[in-house]
Symmetry: C2
Subunit: 186 residues, 2 copies
């Protein structure tokens, strides 16, 4: 009975170590298709289930953890920026405002599936164009949903958060730990 993290994200791997050192990483390249009519919360839960089930099919009896994170402004999901101008538009939109980050988590353990989503509010300072350009030049936005990484230099953009910090990084460690304990997965 192994614990498997079904995520390629190095950030999730680091966070998972706060729960247990005893896990392996397996990733499937399943197609991540969602219903555009779903709410952001339902979207991340649905994507976490798709990722988890794809790995669990090959690992019967193991515990599989999967997750998906999105950045949401005015009810709309911001993905990863396509290029620097796209990153600029996203950061302009987030500037001086509060947005939401949702991470959906799926735990497949002992023939049961537990799915939840955690929500954190993130408030940005008002950013000058120059500050946004300087941040984009660090290269950090390119592979990040919403074009920022709160665990990197992107922390200088953030005024405050309300909720679980690690949920913004990509894994709500504290709630996941509690659910895994309750279900005797750890």
């Amino acid at each position: 009975m192994a614990i498997i993290l079904a995520s390629a994200s190095p950030r999730r791997r680091e966070l998972m170590k706060f729960i247990t050192e005893d896990f392996t990483v397996k990733v499937s390249d399943v197609r991540e298709i969602t219903d555009p009519d779903l709410s952001p919360e339902e979207t991340v839960k649905s994507l976490a289930v798709i990722k988890g089930e794809a790995v669990a099919g090959n690992c019967p009896g193991d515990t599989v953890i999967s997750a998906d994170t999105v950045v949401v402004l005015d009810g709309k999901i911001l993905g990863k920026p396509k290029n620097e101008e796209d990153a600029f538009s996203m950061l302009c939109a987030l500037s001086g405002r509060t947005h939401e980050v949702f991470t959906g988590v799926c735990i497949i353990h002992g023939g049961k599936k537990t799915v939840f989503a955690e929500r954190t509010e993130v408030s940005f300072y008002s950013l000058s164009d120059e500050e946004i350009r300087t941040y984009i030049a660090t290269g950090e936005p390119s592979d990040k949903a919403g074009a920022y990484g709160i665990q990197g230099k992107g922390c200088t953009l953030v005024k405050s958060i309300n909720g679980d910090y690690n949920n913004v990084v990509g894994l709500p460690v504290s709630k996941l730990y509690r659910i895994m304990k309750e279900s005797s997965a750890i």
Copy 2:
């Protein structure tokens, strides 16, 4: 005109790198004496000033950054635990409740001193005695104010925060960055 971080904390050093890579660390072993009648906010500001002035005296013309962080429950400052039983008492007191973390920062630059304090609320899950003992056994609480480290395994104890996350780690990076920009210190 160098930038000097007047703190021995490896966590503050890591956070300072989000503002600039171009700084050195100098620490004075000044006695940290405060007036017990001061509020927690005034206490951290006063300690930051004491630490900063002690280093600035030997570095005229340089920019000196210093900081002090405290954990506050019911208006009372929780220091570092004296031993495991003390850590147990502190974590029992924090369990299921919301406390405050204040970091005071002093910036000495161009003959001027700028001092501010940042406040973050931290809410803990209700913790079982067994969970507290397991956490203490990791050794993490021993050198931490309030007997926990939010950037380590202590994150599993925390339900949510309200404010700047890095302020809890020990340096309100975002606000410090903004003040240093405004005063042309970076």
